[in-house]
């Protein structure tokens, strides 16, 4: 016998699926459609846009931001934020270059750079998880501190090393594909696997979805929170090493403002800043959109100032659509569907 009376809300969900369910579609293909539209437009209007070497260039140019955004996705999924990743790019790049100059073999220098990033993330994580400080404030502090550290180590001057032993990480090719692009692909593959297929990934979503419930369900919430900042730090460390390799030098100003581009990529990709909702694939698409937009606008000879205007509008539009999907009543107002939603 049917023991559970049919609640109206459940019926409403089915109802929406039958009609055109904007939120459902936007969640799955919305942002991808935006990317495809953008690519089509660029191919038509921008000369040479869809040449293979240009596309590879775009891929290489977005790799640093995409890797930062991948790490940041973990943090934002738990409902946190990390503003320090741009500064970590500088510190880890500086340390890796100095290590290489001191004669450390290339792979070790790269690992040192990533470890430095991880250590910075550990500080963020400890302060956020165990001292229960607001991550926005903590990472605002470490952002400033680490930038100062990068200046202090380098005395404010770039350290150029023309025979940098890991410079292939930024400039080399493997089977015709730029090495940074391969690194980016590897990072996203691992991140996707971890978030979608592992217990750890499910715990990350749980902490962002409802931290109190996660704790009572047996998730070690503090440990998860600590770990996501370490993940973001390691990613930022890798991004920093790649950036240093690309410019064949240690720049104390490296990565300035990158945290905001990375956050933009994550949010464009549909990850909620409140936590608990989002996909790593979305982050990749978000980063690609930003890259395509930048390169395309350059190819179209759009002035730098105007580029910024356009990028700003795109980011706000994407977030607005995302928030509309959370509030169907606004949508029905916009599209004149008559009365509001019928929540049960």
């Amino acid at each position: 016998m049917n023991a559970s009376p049919e609640p109206v809300a459940e019926a409403a969900v089915t109802k929406q699926r039958n009609q055109f369910d904007f939120a459902w579609w936007w969640d799955r293909v919305g942002i991808l459609m935006v990317l495809i539209l953008l690519v089509v437009l660029m191919s038509i209007f921008a000369p040479n846009f869809n040449r293979v070497d240009n596309l590879l260039n775009i891929a290489r140019s977005i790799s640093v931001n995409a890797i930062l955004a991948a790490g940041l996705t973990f943090v934002i999924l738990t409902g946190g934020i990390d503003l320090s990743v741009g500064s970590i790019v500088a510190v880890s790049g500086v340390v890796a270059v100095i290590a290489a100059i001191e004669g450390v073999p290339a792979p070790v220098a790269v690992v040192i750079g990533m470890a430095v990033g991880g250590a910075c993330g550990l500080v963020n994580g400890v302060l956020t998880a165990y001292l229960a400080l607001a991550p926005f404030i903590v990472t605002l502090g470490t952002m400033t501190f680490l930038r100062g550290l990068a200046y202090t180590i380098t005395n404010g001057q770039p350290i150029v090393s023309s025979d940098l032993n890991f410079k292939d990480l930024g400039n080399g090719y493997l089977l015709g594909i730029p090495v940074p692009v391969i690194a980016m692909a590897a990072v996203f593959l691992v991140a996707w696997f971890v978030l979608e297929r592992t217990r750890y990934g499910r715990h990350v979503y749980a902490v962002g979805g409802n931290a109190q419930a996660a704790r009572l369900a047996g998730v070690q919430v503090n440990r998860i929170i600590l770990s996501v900042y370490v993940v973001a730090g390691i990613c930022a460390g890798l991004a920093g090493v790649i950036f240093a390799a690309r410019v064949i030098s240690a720049q104390p100003t490296a990565g300035t403002g990158y945290e905001l581009d990375a956050i933009a990529a994550v949010v464009l990709g549909g990850t909620s800043l409140v936590g608990g909702r989002g996909r790593i694939v979305g982050t990749l698409i978000g980063a690609v959109i930003l890259g395509v937009l930048t390169t395309g606008l350059i190819l179209l000879n759009v002035q730098f100032f105007t580029q910024l205007l356009i990028k700003g509008v795109v980011i706000i539009l994407a977030v607005a659509i995302d928030s509309l999907k959370q509030r169907p009543e606004l949508l029905s107002v916009l599209f004149g569907r008559g009365q509001g939603p019928s929540k049960g």
Partner: protein
């Protein structure tokens, strides 16, 4: 007196393919308390949303004083003198009682500034009208839920509400708070207000209602005066079948001690000691704020304890964190299902599997197929619809959400289960299923500790009742010696006047 104040007839509302309301009617006289009853999903809330102007009916008519009216927005409803007190209160906790009472209609002095003196005077007057003894200068959030509700009622009354709808007003109230609410309800009835009272609690309906209307599955079943109907009649009308006795009475045979709690304490709590045996259901009873939930949280490691021991099957469990307690064999379904129990945006599958992933991983990788299979098994056991597995938990009804919360621990198969208010906000059909489940779990050898504010439930499902007051266990009663009066006497403390000993009602 006999002409209806409010008359709803032929009301029909469709959501997509679902007929949420089908030709229902309800009439309300001035000076009457009219109870509206029905299981979750029966259509009570939908009708109230139509009455409050939050949604529009597809068909039917609304008459006030015999005149047809249109209610398109909440503002229309207020203009017609209709006020609704929802389960979720519609107030601002950070503002004072007085500020809340003048919200949206703040009096201004001749300089156009907020007239603070009048805000306070008005508030006193509004509170006095319902005889509520509340200090209007206190922040609303510092009051108990019951008092906050009073403030909202005072606001409704001050807007000259002639029709007042109370949607499960006592769901979160202690006994003493509920008594105060009943007094206010009676006073308003005497003043000629018509009250629609939605409740799942049979005893309060019997205490308050002049007439009772029952809905089932979106349809009107019947109306009768309290004198014409028995509780059994109403239950039969609600479920469409005779539900029989809610509680089983054939004795269980408790086995070894599984949960052994010795002198656990923390600031303001304990020391408390008790045991729960395999195959036994023990309930913790006491007033809201007596420390029942807090004691359970200490056992579960959700809060830090300053002393004492917990043994599970003879092995010490000294958790610094619930994850350790869970590994030791404990499970807890918290009272606040939405805030602390569930991940409302996540799928039912994620919600149920979250605590048992260790059983379904190879290394760290989750075996998705195995998880789904196991989750479906538990859903079937609890009679949750299979196709709900990928729905966000938010989309389920209260009863089904509670089943999902329970399923999490059924999947884990924990030997000790702590269930805090397992049937709050759950309709009578789901309630019965949950009782059956608790009984079946006990018979399968689980040790079960239930916390319940519903006294008949606390006594009816348990083998023993622990009465908690002031963070301590003041009395242990065997099932056969526990009666509602008996438990209440210990819960309020012998000789004490429980109206004033309840922390929620301190002036």
């Amino acid at each position: 007196m006999d002409k209806p104040l409010l008359e709803l007839s032929g009301i029909t509302k469709r959501f997509g393919a679902t007929l949420a309301l089908n030709d229902v009617r309800l009439d309300l006289r001035a000076g009457e308390v009219h109870a509206l009853m029905g299981e979750n999903g029966a259509g009570k809330s939908t009708l109230m949303k139509i009455l409050s102007g939050n949604i529009q009916r597809d068909a039917g008519s609304i008459l006030i004083d015999g005149q047809p009216v249109e209610i398109r927005t909440p503002r229309d409803a207020r203009a017609q003198g209709i006020a609704i007190i929802h389960q979720e209160l519609n107030t601002v906790p950070a503002m004072t009682v007085a500020e809340n009472l003048s919200l949206g209609q703040e009096p201004r002095n001749r300089f156009g500034m907020l007239d603070r003196g009048r805000v306070l005077r008005d508030a006193r007057e509004k509170l006095a009208r319902i005889h509520a003894d509340i200090d209007p200068t206190k922040p609303l959030g510092s009051l108990g839920i019951g008092m906050q509700q009073m403030v909202e009622i005072a606001r409704a009354v001050s807007e000259n509400a002639r029709v007042l709808v109370l949607d499960e007003p006592t769901a979160a109230l202690s006994r003493a708070e509920a008594q105060e609410l009943y007094a206010v309800v009676n006073r308003m009835r005497a003043e000629g207000v018509g009250l629609i009272y939605i409740s799942h609690r049979m005893e309060e309906v019997w205490q308050l209602a002049d007439r009772i209307t029952v809905f089932r599955d979106g349809g009107y079943v019947g109306t009768g005066t309290r004198g014409e109907m028995s509780e059994a009649d109403v239950v039969r009308m609600m479920v469409g079948r005779s539900i029989g006795d809610l509680y089983r009475h054939d004795p269980r045979a408790p086995g070894e001690v599984v949960l052994d709690v010795k002198d656990i304490q923390a600031t303001g709590l304990g020391p408390a000691s008790f045991q729960v045996r395999a195959g036994e259901v023990v309930s913790m009873s006491g007033l809201v704020g007596s420390g029942r939930t807090e004691l359970a949280r200490l056992v579960f490691g959700a809060d830090r304890r300053s002393g004492g021991k917990v043994l599970v099957n003879g092995r010490p469990s000294n958790p610094a964190d619930p994850s350790k307690a869970i590994a030791d064999g404990l499970a807890m379904v918290p009272e606040d299902r939405k805030g602390q129990g569930l991940f409302l945006d996540h799928s039912v599958e994620r919600n149920i599997s979250i605590s048992s992933l260790d059983q379904f991983v190879s290394g760290e990788v989750v075996r998705d197929g195995a998880v789904r299979k196991a989750v479906l098994e538990q859903m079937e056991r609890l009679r949750l619809r299979k196709n709900a597995i990928d729905l966000p938990t938010r989309a389920l009804s209260g009863g089904n959400q509670q089943k999902a919360a329970l399923a999490r621990w059924l999947l884990r198969d924990s030997p000790v289960m702590i269930l805090d208010e397992p049937t709050r906000g759950v309709d009578i059909g789901a309630k019965r299923e949950i009782y059956e489940l608790i009984d079946a779990l006990a018979r399968a050898g689980k040790a079960i500790l239930v916390i319940s504010s519903d006294l008949p439930e606390a006594i009816g499902i348990a083998d023993r009742v622990l009465v908690v007051r002031g963070g301590r266990i003041v009395k242990e009663l065997q099932a056969h010696e526990a009666s509602e009066e008996n438990v209440m006497r210990y819960a309020v403390g012998a000789g004490a006047n429980h109206q004033t000993s309840n922390p929620g009602t301190q002036p």
